[in-house]
Structure formats: C-alpha cells, structure tokens
C-alpha cells in the first residue's frame, strides 16, 4: 500500500460522469455482458473506494484489476484520461497486498 500517492479524483469524476463514448472501442469478444469493465464503471468504483463508501475487499480489487477491456479505451478517450493508470494507482493506494 502506498499511503503517499495522491489520486487524480477529478479525472475519475469526469470519467464516472461521462456516458462512455469509448465503449465501442472494446472488441465485442472482450468481457461481453459486463458493464463493470468499462472505464466509466472502473472510475465510479474507484471514487467510491477513495471516498470510503466501498470497502477495499478482494471482490472490489478483483473488479478493479479487470482492466483488459478498458485498456482499449485509453487511446480513444476524447478527454485524454488514462483511467487504467489511475485505477492501478487506486489499487496501489487503497488495497494492501492481501486486500
């Protein structure tokens, strides 16, 4: 756990509020049927973890670590956010090695 890491919550908030025009960049075969894999969902969960509303459980960590689909979105984000990178920071900051 890295207690000193400052998370860019404004980018997370922007992504959580965005209706995700990037989602069409995710190939249809990658995690279909799972809304939780798009960047906006990862940002929403991250904000809840940072805000203390979602406990840093193994299930939440597992959800946040599933970034394969969101990785396709980074290059097409109209606002230039790297949510996958930010989510990794959230994991590093809020989830211990056993979290």
């Amino acid at each position: 756990m890295n207690d000193t890491l400052v998370i860019n919550t404004s980018a997370l908030k922007h992504c959580a509020c965005c209706p995700a025009p990037c989602r069409s960049a995710i190939p249809a075969a990658v995690s279909p049927g799972n809304e939780a894999v798009i960047p906006s969902a990862l940002a929403m969960v991250s904000l809840a973890v940072v805000g203390g509303a979602l406990p840093p459980t193994p299930a939440t960590r597992s959800l946040l670590e599933n970034t394969a689909a969101a990785s396709y979105c980074v290059a097409v984000c109209p606002y230039g956010h790297d949510i996958v990178g930010l989510v990794r920071q959230v994991i590093d900051r809020y989830f211990g090695v056993n979290g």
């Binding site: 025009p21 249809a28 799972n34 929403m44 509303a53 406990p55 946040l64």
Partner: protein, 494 residues
C-alpha cells in the same frame, strides 16, 4: 404523481450496503447459468445502480444510490439462456430489468426496487445480413457503433446515428423508441425495425417476422418499439439498412430570426425534400457554437443541414433547399460549423457541467409548425422564471412536414442539491405542460423511463388503460421493468 422535489429515494451507498443481504436464490441462478454469468458483489451492483440520467449522475458524483441497488446481475450468452433466466425469475417472483449499455437519460435502465439486472451485452452477434433485401438481423446487445462499423466495411449503413451511437445498444435504440441525427432522411427507429424476437414474461419467444408491412391487424412489432422492457426482453432485431450515401453535402445557413428558421425548415420538409441532418439553433446555442463569426454577427440564428445520397440527388436537394432559405432572407456560411459539429456529434455536452458540480439536464418535446414559435417563447419564459442564472438553450432537429422536435438544455450553477433538483424537475414539468397545451408531445426520442412516467396519463389519456391491460396480460406478476413507462412499481405506485 411523485413529488418533484424527491422523485426517487436516493440514499448513501455506504448506508445501502450496510443494510444489504444477498438474495437466497443467487446460488440457484449460478447453478443455472454458471458462476461467471452472475454477479452480486457490492462494487458491481454499484455500477448497475445508475443509468445516464442527470438525476443518476448527480447522485453518483456524491456516492449516493439514485434509487436502488439491483439484487444481482446476470449476463445470458444466448437467447435460449435468456429464456431460462426469465423462466427462473418468474418461478421465483423476481423482478427483472433489461439493461443494454444504460445510456438512457430518463431512468429506464435504472433499478428502483432491487431488480435482477439482465445485462444483454453478451448477446452481441450479427445473425444475418441480407443485402438483396437490405436487412440486417442482430442480437439486441450489440453496440450501435460496432454495428455501423461492420456495415460500413460492407458499404452499408442503418442511417441511425443517435448522439449515443457509441454508448448504446441496438436493443436500447428500440426499447426507448429512439431517433438518430439523420432521422429526417432515414426515419426513426420505428421506421427501421422490420422484425424482432422478444422473450415474453412467461419465457416464450415471440417472433415478428421481418417483412415490409402486413395488413393483419395492429402492428405487433410497434408494441415493443418503445416498451422499455415492460412487456418482455428484445432478443433480436431486424433493421432496414441502406447503401452508404455516395455524397454528403452540407448547407450552413445564417438567418435573421427563429421565425425565418421555422419557415425555412417547414417549407423544405413540405416540399418533399429530405435532408439527412436538419438542425436549427436558437441565438443562445448559435452564439455558443459560432459566436461573433461572420455572418452570424449580423444574422444570429444558425441552421445546419446535410444532404445525402447519390451526388446528383444530394446536390439537387441542397439547391432546392437553398432557394427556399434564400426567400426567407438566409445567407450561406462557411462549412466550418458543420465540420465542427461532425467532430463532436457523438459526445455528450453535459459532462463538462456535471463534473464542475453544475446541474445539467435536457428535455426534448415534439411540436407542430403552427405552435412551435409560441411554445418556444413559453419555454424561455419558464426557464428565465426558474432561476436568474440558468443556462438555457434550444435547437430543433428531427424535422417533419408537420412539425419538429425542440431539444432544450438547462444548466443550473452549483448550489445545494435540495434546491437544484426541485428547480430542474419543476422546469421539466412546466415544459411538458406547455408542450401538451400547445398540442405537442412530452417526449420525442428519450422515452419515458421513470422520470416522465407521472405525465403519461396527460399524454395518452385512455391509452394508458390499454397499455396497462396489455401489460397485465403479458406480465400478471408485474415483474418486468417495474415502475417504467408509467407502469406501477412493485409497491403499486406509479
């Protein structure tokens, strides 16, 4: 009618999670469709607790559940599996809510009473493409932009280009009775749907075979176009498709006032011309897009039109339209505003406000040409009376020979939420009343969802009883999309 100040009972995420218990039927559902297809961990349920309605966004940014957590989420991977899940839900008395990409803005995809979410995005296959007939059949969970890209590679298009193209599914287009930005030429979704299959609440599969039309009683497919999941789950949809247009020609106009704009659009549509794109902006939205630029510095109303099809047809339609526009004092402008619009046409304009804690919302109504000018004056007066700092603008798109859709954006600056939400909902309520009083409709293409449901009686009158009777017959337990489309929720409240 729900209180406008508290349309839904939002609560803090932490508080909801503390009181939550996983339903006893979840292990049986896992056994039915497999572990991977069912999710009920708190983080996943948080993700599915919202759609893209501004009301949901206001809550999410404060880590609040807009209305309810879903009880669980299931992702069927075939139509047969979807039928199994529906049968399971019926046997266990579980309320269900179909979910595509959740891009709706009126709460139609938002759980209100712990529904089991049916995420349809794994049903994302193209079933058949029949170019001789100009038809494509797809599963309902296919992303709209992915369908367009697939068709584009083969030289075809649906002609359905909503702002939400990249963030919505084909099933969502149909379920909300949507309209795209090229609708004045290609029609709305109800014009494009030629057939469909629907998993009914008793789990049987209804098939409406795709044909151009049939004279065999009321149109069954139209019962499901706009049904918002209340009558069943769309499984597949057959759409009319078109060869990609050879040419797309823009026409950007500057006009003296809105009356000249209304007259121009009306006469274009009534002259049997069919521009693909028709957009008329009020002075506020024109200034926002092209403020100060020539010729809008002297003619403050902008219209953007696009003509599509064969090069000669598009050119002829544009020329004939220009003759009409010129007779109303219009001048042409450079194509720059059209090119800028093309770049941002699939992005949401409200994000920039929501992220700064403004309260941005939109509302779109239908009006007739004869009443649109007065209707708009009443809308503006209501907005100005609502709050002195409101950022209010309008444009007219989706033009018809009889009238057009007026699409309004209303943004309030940061303020306490218990002040802002009643103001926004109160203004939306007034706008709907004004539309009805002027012979219009309360919703043009966003649907009804939760947030317009209380107005359905004013809009449909006795028609509500007919819809309810059909609902009661198909779904006697009231398990499908409770609370949507003006139907009662699980507690019997509309």
């Amino acid at each position: 009618m729900p209180s406008l100040s508290t349309p839904l009972a939002s609560r803090a995420l932490e508080e909801v999670l503390a009181a939550r218990q996983s339903p006893s039927w979840v292990p049986a559902l896992r056994a039915l469709v497999g572990d991977q297809a069912v999710r009920d961990d708190p983080a996943a349920l948080w993700v599915y607790s919202r759609d893209r309605s501004p009301f949901a966004v206001f809550n999410v940014r404060r880590l609040r559940i807009p209305a309810s957590l879903p009880s669980a989420v299931v992702s069927p991977t075939s139509v047969e599996e979807l039928q199994q899940v529906v049968r399971f839900a019926r046997e266990h008395g579980i309320a269900v809510l179909p979910f595509g990409a959740g891009s709706g803005v009126l709460g139609a995809a938002m759980p209100v009473s712990g529904e089991l979410i049916l995420d349809l995005k794994a049903l994302n296959h193209i079933v058949a493409f029949e170019p001789i007939d100009g038809l494509v059949t797809v599963q309902a969970g296919l992303n709209g932009a992915q369908l367009e890209a697939w068709l584009d590679e083969r030289g075809w298009t649906t002609g359905h280009h909503p702002q939400s193209l990249h963030m919505s599914t084909v099933g969502g287009w149909v379920a909300c009775r949507g309209a795209g930005q090229s609708s004045s030429r290609y029609g709305k979704i109800e014009d494009m749907v030629q057939g469909c299959t629907v998993v009914l609440p008793d789990s049987r599969l209804l098939e409406v075979r795709p044909v151009s039309r049939r004279s065999v009683g009321p149109s069954l497919k139209d019962l499901f176009v706009g049904s918002e999941g209340t009558l069943g789950v769309l499984a597949t949809v057959t759409l009319r498709v078109w060869p990609k247009p050879q040419a797309k020609l823009p026409l950007v106009l500057a006009l003296d006032d809105l009356d000249a704009g209304f007259s121009t659009l009306r006469q274009i549509m009534q002259a049997e011309l069919r521009p693909a794109v028709v957009r008329l902006y009020d002075a506020h939205e024109t200034a926002h897009r092209v403020g100060g630029r020539e010729p809008f510095d002297r003619k403050p109303i902008m219209a953007i039109l696009e003509y599509a099809g064969s090069a000669s047809l598009a050119a002829l339609e544009r020329d004939l339209s220009w003759q009409i526009a010129r007779s109303h004092g219009a001048v042409t402008a450079a194509d720059t505003p059209y090119l800028e619009w093309l770049k941002t046409r699939y992005l949401s304009g409200s994000v920039q406000y929501q992220v700064r804690d403004w309260y941005a919302d939109t509302i779109e109504v239908t009006g007739r040409w004869s009443t649109l000018p007065n209707m708009h004056r009443e809308f503006v007066a209501a907005a100005r009376a609502a709050h002195p700092q409101i950022d209010f603008g309008a444009h007219w798109s989706h033009a018809y020979p009889e009238g057009a859709c007026e699409y309004m954006t209303m943004c309030l600056p940061p303020m306490p939420e218990d002040e802002a939400i009643p103001l926004l909902f109160g203004l939306a309520d007034q706008i709907q009343d004004i539309a009805l009083r002027n012979g219009g409709a309360i919703s043009h293409h966003h649907g009804i969802g939760i947030l317009r449901g209380y107005k359905l009686l004013d809009e449909l009158g006795l028609g509500v009883e007919i819809l309810q009777a059909i609902k009661d017959h198909l779904d006697p337990q009231g398990l499908f999309a409770p609370g949507k489309l003006g139907m009662p929720d699980r507690g019997g409240q509309r």
